[in-house]
Assembly symmetry: C2
Homo-oligomer: 435 residues x 2
């Protein structure tokens, strides 16, 4: 069998099949599993990339029935039961790979409301590379402000706009607040980083719309304590080199001069979802998600599973359900698919996939988080501690857990962020292009 | 006063002056101090970049008399006592900075025997970026070999050439040996990484020429146990996309087909050294080092100090001395310059700089190292443990010490390397260009 994608869904599927009598090929274009919920911490210098990524080959090194193939998936031939591949390293590698069972977890990426030209200015933090790029931009903005003697030109360097107030946007805004008000407080001699403006722009009328309104209000208050200005009911209608234009419901618009815009609004599913939709006739929604059957297979293709945030799942009543695009959903779906495959080997039936919602967590900053656990609403230190333990627990690899625990303990006690480096092979060119 | 360069020399100078009644501006084009002796560990996936780099601003955040300026130094006007700057972040910042006292620690870079065109193929591991680039190439070579079905085309992917058997070259070759024979041993299903050929090419007749011959022989044996073939008495005369050409003393030459060549031979001083030589009439040697007076000042410019591996130091007899290009030399020179400046404030004389050689250390792999400590020759586990403790001790920041200690303990016990990621903003383009 072939599993596409070493994200949360694909990884769980392979982990739960590694001791089953199956031969698994895990295809990914990257050689590591990324703990995506913490990429924003790389973007703000709190963690080092190697601490939230783990080599896929290392995970399965003792499982001779699991093979990792570093390649990009470009298409499918479902009748021939083949996946079409493009090489990632050198020109080598097979052009196709055959499967008896296929699991597709292609994930999603940020969409820019159809304005792909915004991408260059408004960086996102989904991949490790984009997180490093955001880190370079954030830190370089403070450096540029320190060097800029003209007040009018300095201000846009000290204005940070985060678009989208879902968990990632809230976390990013909160972390920039901490960076400015706490970590960098004593670092400069000309500017006072605490004067930085951090704006969180959200189209809805509150932050964290997937949480109960009372927790949204608590999160907004925590953000404001960190110096973040929450602008709800505002839509971004333009992103230029010098800032963003936001419009409110009344039709009036406002330009915000900012040199650092971070995008955390709206995702679109992997193009593999659309391809699977076209090949099987399964419905594809406007966000590019393909609709799978209640058992996560494609219609008429019981040997093809799809999972994670690239799918909607048809319910028993036929209605498609959009589960939140979070790790627990993908992980449960991965484990479900593994179980379904093991059941098939024993000719057992598997009941439809059911998502067990264990709760919803978002962190804002030091001892500030909100948690909605089966109706139990938590905020402040207790929610933050829960968030902390859950995230350390789910990190792959004991070493990473320990390293992240130390980084966080140290950040908490010293208010420092050790990895605030302007670095990466592109650091110089990146800064040049934006100056 | 102005200190150029936040390397080992410049950093020590500022550290030892931060409580003195002076105003210091530390100029660096990067925002961090890099623990360069461990960059090769980033290159082989043993450490994460953030673990061997530390933000300069964080080091001096509590010292209001120390200002960090992120800019590139492009020249000097010694009569006007000014340093000429070029911006690194955005277009902002001053074009010049005035000094009463100047300390220049510009460091060095790898030279390619006058063949700068070799640089693209033969990567080095001096900067954080080049180390990440080498890591990507090393790991991608194994991935490419796994995917390559043609034996003749696979072999160059599994052939690694390290040029230069000084400490860095020996460490790199040893680490690639460990990577192939130990860390990656179980990672692949088609290739056996243990069949990788690792060649260490050295022009001299032994490795580690700065060590006593008996330790060179021990190091060579340790390397061979890790599967490294040591080719001494061989000079690289060509580096192409497909490999290197080496010539021996007899005039015959040999082509080695390899897709991964790492350069660790021959450094040239920062161009700032040549500039200072031209401006003051101080001698500049073929490696670009400027000759400073016994008190590390430039001739006729007692207010300008230069230090580190961009200088030779004139001895009492007038003969220039080349100290080894290692951290302890630069650190002692940095502390010396700080003391000289404090002495001047009190109108005291400072005796000439004297290097206290505390010993010479090089590591090859697990429990394999050599140490020459004031004539005491150590090898094996005891030398390795000494190396380990010295390197952890000298890392900047308690957090980094702890993180590196954990990474190493974990690598030692599990034989793993957690950060073997093919990543960085350029990862895809880099692989594309080389395929």
């Amino acid at each position: 069998m072939v599993v596409i994608g070493g994200g949360f869904g694909g990884l769980q599927a392979v982990l739960k099949l590694r001791r089953a009598p199956v031969e698994v090929t895990l295809v990914d274009r990257r050689n590591f599993h990324l703990f995506q919920p913490l990429t924003y911490q790389v973007a703000t210098g709190a963690l080092s990339p190697g601490e939230i990524a783990y080599p896929l080959r290392a995970i399965f090194k003792r499982n001779r029935n699991v093979r990792v193939l570093m390649a990009e998936v470009v298409g499918f031939e479902l009748d021939a039961r083949q996946v079409l591949l493009a090489p990632v390293v050198a020109a080598g590698g097979p052009a196709t790979i055959a499967y008896d069972t296929l699991v597709v977890g292609g994930g999603s990426q940020y969409s820019y409301f159809g304005h792909d030209e915004w991408r260059a200015e408004a960086a996102e933090v989904k991949s490790l590379e984009s997180a490093i790029s955001v880190r370079n931009r954030l830190l370089a903005a403070f450096e540029a402000a320190e060097l800029e003697s003209n007040n009018a030109r300095r201000e846009p360097w000290l204005t940070f706009v985060v678009v989208g107030a879902g968990p990632t946007g809230v976390e990013m805004a909160g972390q920039i607040g901490e960076l400015a008000r706490d970590t960098l407080r004593r670092d400069f001699r000309t500017i006072d980083p605490r004067t930085a403006r951090i704006l969180l722009v959200e189209a809805a009328d509150r932050v964290l719309t997937t949480f109960p309104p009372s927790l949204s209000a608590k999160a907004a208050r925590s953000l404001e304590r960190l110096g973040v200005t929450v602008l709800t009911g505002r839509t971004v209608v333009g992103v230029e080199a010098g800032g963003v234009t936001v419009a409110d419901g009344s039709g009036s618009s406002q330009h915000i001069a900012s040199r650092t815009v971070i995008w955390a609004a709206g995702v679109t599913a992997s193009s593999l979802a659309t391809q699977l939709g076209e090949l099987t006739g399964a419905e594809v929604d406007p966000a590019g998600r393909v609709t799978v059957e209640p058992d996560l297979t494609l219609p008429g293709r019981s040997e093809v599973f799809a999972l994670g945030d690239m799918v909607r799942v048809r319910s028993a009543t036929g209605e498609p359900i959009v589960f939140p695009g979070v790790a627990p959903v993908a992980m449960q779906q991965g484990r479900y698919v593994a179980k379904a495959i093991r059941d098939r080997l024993r000719s057992r039936a598997t009941p439809a996939f059911r998502y067990r919602d264990k709760g919803n967590l978002a962190t804002i900053g030091r001892r500030a988080a909100v948690a909605d656990i089966k109706g139990l609403k938590l905020s402040g230190s207790i929610a933050w501690l829960t968030w902390l333990l859950v995230h350390i627990w789910y990190l792959i690899g004991f070493q990473n857990r320990l390293l992240v625990a130390i980084r966080w303990t140290s950040s908490f006690t010293t208010h420092g962020r050790g990895t605030r480096l302007i670095a990466g092979p592109d650091w110089r060119r990146e800064l040049d292009e934006r100056s």
